[in-house]
């Protein structure tokens, strides 16, 4: 295996730039992040990219690989470079800082806009909340809570590309998990926050987020849940 090489095209520059081509030795069980790291350490020290844990926990290393957003640390070359070539770009829908590193500010700013943070209702004096694993709301929350904030869904989403103020799948998925948390006290305000012109109603249900989420979450289903919840709240006069 090690005698073979793979042709890798990597984006260099900011919004304006060009692809540079590298020849990288093939290794067994090689990941896209291994390739990028090899290039940076051996061929081109000036290459900028972002990673931290290398084991699919931190959500730092997402890039566009052969046209699709992927978590590069757990994307094996064998699965994405069938024809022996690899084209690596920064994530779509976010400003490029340099090379493969994007500015995630908008992505996280939209989590704040969606009020996607827990609003506690209990005090230190209260006992622990009893939430059964079989509770339907708990199941809905459990289905969405493993998000690692990698930005793959945000990059995959056409609605984000078309509608600049759309909150995006990750922020809305987080809003849905909180909506199903019985301990949370921010539901009405949150439903209001996610119903503006860039809110959950803007989702076209293309399901690119579902298809490409590395954690196999289904933000489209979460957004559908939010649409139903907002209608119920509006009909009750809560929004």
């Amino acid at each position: 295996m090690s005698s073979e090489t793979i042709t890798v095209e990597i984006w260099r520059g900011k919004e304006e730039g060009e692809f540079q081509t590298y020849q990288v030795p093939r290794m067994e069980s090689q990941t896209v992040l291994d390739i990028v790291t090899y290039v940076q350490r051996n061929l081109d020290p000036g290459l900028s990219y972002r990673f931290a844990c290398r084991v699919g926990v931190c959500g730092s290393c997402a890039m566009t690989v052969n046209g699709k957003p992927r978590w590069t640390c757990r994307t094996h070359i064998d699965k994405v470079a069938g024809d022996g070539t690899l084209r690596i770009q920064p994530l779509r829908n976010l400003p490029v800082i340099r090379d493969l590193a994007v500015d995630m500010t908008d992505f996280f700013e939209k989590w704040t806009q969606a009020k996607a943070q827990f609003v506690p209702t209990a005090t230190r004096a209260d006992d622990f909340a009893q939430v059964s694993p079989d509770d339907p709301q708990r199941k809905e929350a459990s289905a969405g809570i493993e998000c690692i904030n990698c930005g793959v869904c945000y990059s995959a989403c056409d609605t984000v590309a078309w509608l600049g103020d759309y909150l995006g799948p990750a922020a809305l998925n987080r809003a849905w998990t909180l909506h199903n948390d019985v301990r949370d006290g921010g539901r009405a305000e949150r439903l209001k926050a996610i119903s503006g012109s860039g809110g959950c109603q803007a989702c076209h249900s293309h399901q690119s987020c579902f298809e490409l989420c590395p954690k196999h979450l289904n933000p489209t289903a979460s957004i559908a849940g939010l649409k139903r919840a907002t209608v119920k709240a509006a009909l009750k006069g809560e929004i």
Partner: protein, 116 residues
């Protein structure tokens, strides 16, 4: 009404009218398929629809549903493909709604009147 509330209700109206239109379009297409069997003439159309209260009601529901459904979708397209502001797209929505209502009811009432 808050913009969030308006957004939700517009979304709901679009979904409800979509369900109504699904039935209306099927009936409309079925009638066309059946009607063309004997050759379509204006006389035959007027004989069926003209003066008929059930058809008047059916096509009235059809027109109202289209007038509510289409502007919301058009507004979404304008938001995604143009830089028009919220106020502009709302006025375009209102204008398209009125246009569809006027044109639709002109046809519906006109046909009903021909058989009355």
């Amino acid at each position: 009404m808050t913009s969030a509330r308006a957004e939700i209700l517009e979304w709901l109206v679009q979904r409800v009218t979509a369900a109504i239109l699904a039935v209306c379009v099927i009936v409309h297409l079925a009638v066309i398929v059946i009607a063309v069997q004997g050759g379509v003439t204006s006389k035959e159309i007027v004989a069926r629809v003209g003066g008929s209260v059930p058809w008047l009601l059916f096509y009235s529901v059809f027109v109202v549903s289209v007038a509510l459904h289409a502007p919301v979708g058009l507004r979404n397209i304008l938001r995604e493909y143009t830089s028009f502001g919220r106020r502009t797209t709302h006025w375009i929505m209102a204008a398209v709604c009125v246009l569809i209502l006027v044109m639709g009811f002109r046809a519906v009432i006109g046909l009903y009147g021909l058989g009355a």
